[in-house]
């Protein structure tokens, strides 16, 4: 073959299982140097959840391109990013406004594959996430852990329409292949977003992350937020995020694609499951490092309250999201009144479900009340996960399943007390229905 019209310019390259990589083609130091600092010092501000998530991504030097499409209640994320970038004179970060959520997901694939050492974030919600699904399911298996898809929980398109926050969207996407982490409170949102790429881009994991928080309750309500200096965030992330060992489109001679025939298909799917399982080992390490550096709790499988030193409890609640805070408010008084040891866990890591950790936490309880906040065809997403976690105990605690807060409804103190009374029936040996629905202090 005749040589190309331009003289050859040799460049070192080496082989990887995913194609050839040209390490010298990319040097991200200028990207780091171009980052405009948002916070020089640790500052305390007042912010809503979307702002907390937006600030966290804006402070990362690896986030330079923000694709988005508006959908309530996640819209303020991209608005906040756009507002900050519009103020950065001479800044090189860009907002990319797409025509639909599906386009955002496709764009994330192209961008994340182009450069696997940058982080590509977006935020969506509800049917926006559903609209992305054709591509998120591919993304979940792609090995592109540099995608950060923030899901602001909102009921999916059930009838009637609801723009409030319930986690039916994220729970409907349990099998998309993303690591799913639930947050409650602005600080936890901010801290989780900072840690998420460290987990997703870890070389053992390489799986995109979907941090999430409740729409309206957390996305729109303001609270105190401690923001860290950009340089500290960079130092933390740089300890965990190492250059991707596999080529991207820009620095590679490679092929990415969905089209895999059956024999190799099995191998890819096994690899996907193994990488997801590694999350259970890597997450605690990142969490511990985060706590060492910033003095706040890092990522967790769940938040636990009320368990004694011996780990025992008469009665434990399993739930997630900000309504768990209302349970915490009534827990002590309820325990005093009923003379029961009442404990609870608020799930943080939804996918992969930390089965062993949940079993260990609940193995010394007599009954477990699982509070589901999303529509489910059976006893509830969380109930099934908890039941699976406890299944191989010799004498598993009895599981009581309830639904409350569907459609983002508040789960009031009286509702919590009614649910606890209902669940207490398990300790008394009463027959209970497979599931029950509670709202505004009554069983419906």
């Amino acid at each position: 073959m005749k040589e190309s019209i331009v003289p050859a310019a040799p460049m070192a390259h080496h082989t990887t299982p995913s194609g050839e990589i040209y390490p010298g083609a990319l040097n991200l130091e200028p990207v780091r140097a171009a980052h405009q600092v948002l916070h020089e010092t640790r500052d305390t501000i007042t912010a809503d959840g979307n702002t907390a998530a937006a600030l966290a991504t804006l402070q990362m030097w690896r986030c330079i391109l923000f694709a988005g499409f508006p959908i309530t209640p996640s819209t303020k994320y991209i608005e906040t990013v756009a507002a900050h970038i519009s103020q950065q004179v001479g800044g090189k970060k860009r907002v990319k406004l797409m025509e639909a959520e599906h386009a955002v997901a496709d764009y994330l694939v192209g961008a994340a594959a182009a450069c696997r050492d940058l982080i590509f974030p977006t935020a969506t919600s509800s049917v926006g996430l559903d609209h992305m699904t054709e591509t998120t399911r591919s993304l979940g298996a792609s090995g592109l852990g540099n995608v950060l898809l923030i899901d602001v929980y909102r009921a999916t398109a059930n009838f009637p329409l609801c723009i409030e926050g319930d986690p039916s969207d994220t729970l409907a996407h349990r099998d998309d292949g993303f690591i799913q982490i639930a947050c409650r409170g602005k600080q936890q949102i901010y801290d989780t977003v900072i840690q998420s790429p460290c987990l997703g881009m870890h070389h053992d994991v390489m799986t995109p992350v979907m941090p999430g928080y409740y729409g309206i309750k957390d996305s729109h309500r303001n609270a105190r937020l401690v923001v860290e200096p950009d340089r500290e965030i960079h130092a933390f992330q740089d300890r965990w995020i190492k250059p991707c060992p596999f080529p991207g489109l820009v620095n590679g001679d490679t092929a990415f694609g969905n089209c895999v025939t059956s024999r190799h298909f099995q191998g890819f799917k096994v690899s996907q499951k193994r990488r997801m399982d590694r999350v259970l080992d890597v997450l605690p390490q990142i969490s511990a490092d985060f706590e060492r550096q910033f003095g706040r709790p890092g990522l967790a499988f769940f938040d636990a309250v009320g368990f004694g030193d011996d780990g025992a409890a008469d009665f434990a609640v399993v739930s997630l999201g900000p309504d768990f805070g209302t349970f915490e408010a009534v827990r002590e008084e309820y325990a005093k009144r009923t003379r029961l040891k009442v404990a609870g866990i608020a799930m943080r890591l939804l996918t992969p479900f930390p089965r062993d950790a949940v079993r260990k936490r609940l193995e010394r309880t007599k009954a477990v009340l699982v509070v589901n906040q999303a529509h489910h065809q059976g006893r509830g997403h969380l109930t099934l996960d908890v039941a699976d976690a406890l299944a191989d105990l010799t004498t598993p605690p009895r599981i009581v399943s309830v639904f409350a807060g569907i459609g983002g409804a508040d789960v009031s103190e009286i509702t919590w007390e009614q649910m606890l009374d209902h669940g207490r029936g398990a300790l008394e040996g009463r027959a209970l229905p497979p599931w029950a629905v509670f709202h505004e202090g009554r069983q419906l």
Binding site: V31, A103, C259
Partner: protein, 337 residues
């Protein structure tokens, strides 16, 4: 601009190993696009689900993409390709373009990159019309190749918005109540111009030199360039082996998909297709070579020419009237600046 012969000797990034049907125009088109893009600039290719994709990226079979026998030492010859869902090729390309440009702007990447996207007409004009038009609208500097075989060939030859009227497809069958496709094709050329494309063309490798030069102009276009490639499908159009290039040329000359090249600010022209029907090959000759039009024409054993089947004269006249309006439309579009 490079010489036609020089381009013909370059390394194509579309290499042996595809499982496309023998005689597939897509294979010829991609080989040529591959040669033109071997121009000293690294190439990223994005591809939506289509015949061209499932037949060329079906790991662990031979991946029919890449330049040279191994990975080249010259970074400019390195080649990357990504496939995602049907409608995604323009958006993937836009993302790769943006990331490359931003890295260049930062000084993190020294060498420029060219980005080419490929879809079928099902992927670009049906399920992916949104992505195609919005990528054009955002003026992303990519070259979009739309391989127009007028059907969803990959899924079994179903109707697409580019299907010629009266053509039989697996979802517009010929029966007592319906004579094949009842719809007129989507005016994708006008749509692309209206959305803001920098270059819009319709040309196949049957017009070899024009095709290669058009791809070269497309790669140099400062905004989105869209090249629709009429791609006779041996299995879906049901024609005889060896007729692909002839059919592509005949279809262009008789007016069903005239060769057309247009650039923003410069206007364009229709090539090798006269405005007057009398000066063009008869549409019946084009129809007669394809069994998807078996219900429309038959060969006259005396003259050896194709003519309307008895009872189908009015339909053939309607098809010819559409063909004439198609040619006139392109002549008018060529005048746009």
């Amino acid at each position: 601009m490079s010489g036609y012969k020089e381009i013909a000797l370059r390394d194509s990034c579309f290499r042996p190993g595809s499982t496309l049907c023998p005689g597939c125009m897509e294979s010829i088109a991609l080989q040529n696009v591959g040669r033109v893009s071997d121009n000293g600039t690294k190439t990223i290719f994005t591809i939506g689900t289509s015949c061209a994709e499932v037949s060329s990226l079906a790991f662990p079979n031979v991946v029919a993409w890449g330049r040279g026998e191994g990975s080249p030492d010259d970074f400019a010859k390195s080649f990357s390709i990504i496939h995602n869902v049907f409608e995604s090729a323009p958006t993937l390309a836009e993302a790769a373009r943006d990331v490359s440009d931003m890295l260049l702007e930062h000084g993190a990447l020294e060498r420029p990159i060219q980005v080419i996207a490929a879809s079928g007409d099902g992927g670009a004009l049906s399920i992916g019309l949104r992505s195609l038009l919005h990528t054009i609208y955002r003026q992303s500097r990519i070259t979009m190749i739309v391989l127009v075989n007028e059907i969803f060939a990959n899924t079994g030859f179903q109707y697409s918005p580019a299907t010629t009227p009266f053509a039989e497809t697996s979802t517009t069958p010929v029966g007592a109540a319906q004579m094949g496709n009842p719809r007129l094709p989507l005016d994708y050329i006008h749509l692309s111009i209206a959305a803001g494309a920098g270059l819009v063309a319709q040309v196949s490798p049957a017009h070899g030199k024009l095709f290669v030069k058009t791809i070269e102009r497309a790669l140099a276009c400062p905004t989105t360039a869209v090249v629709f490639v009429p791609a006779p499908c041996i299995s879906g159009w049901k024609f005889d082996d060896g007729e692909t290039v002839h059919l592509a040329e005949l279809g262009a000359q008789c007016g069903t998909y005239p060769a057309f090249v247009w650039e923003q600010g410069k206007g364009g022209s229709v090539k090798d297709c006269a405005l007057e029907a009398a000066e063009r090959p008869a549409v019946e000759e084009f129809l007669g070579l394809q069994r998807r039009f078996h219900h429309m024409v038959q060969k006259d054993p005396q003259s050896g020419k194709f003519a309307a089947r008895p009872g189908r004269e009015a339909d053939v006249e309607r098809l010819k009237a559409w063909t004439q309006s198609n040619v006139e439309r392109l002549y008018r579009l060529a005048e746009l600046r």
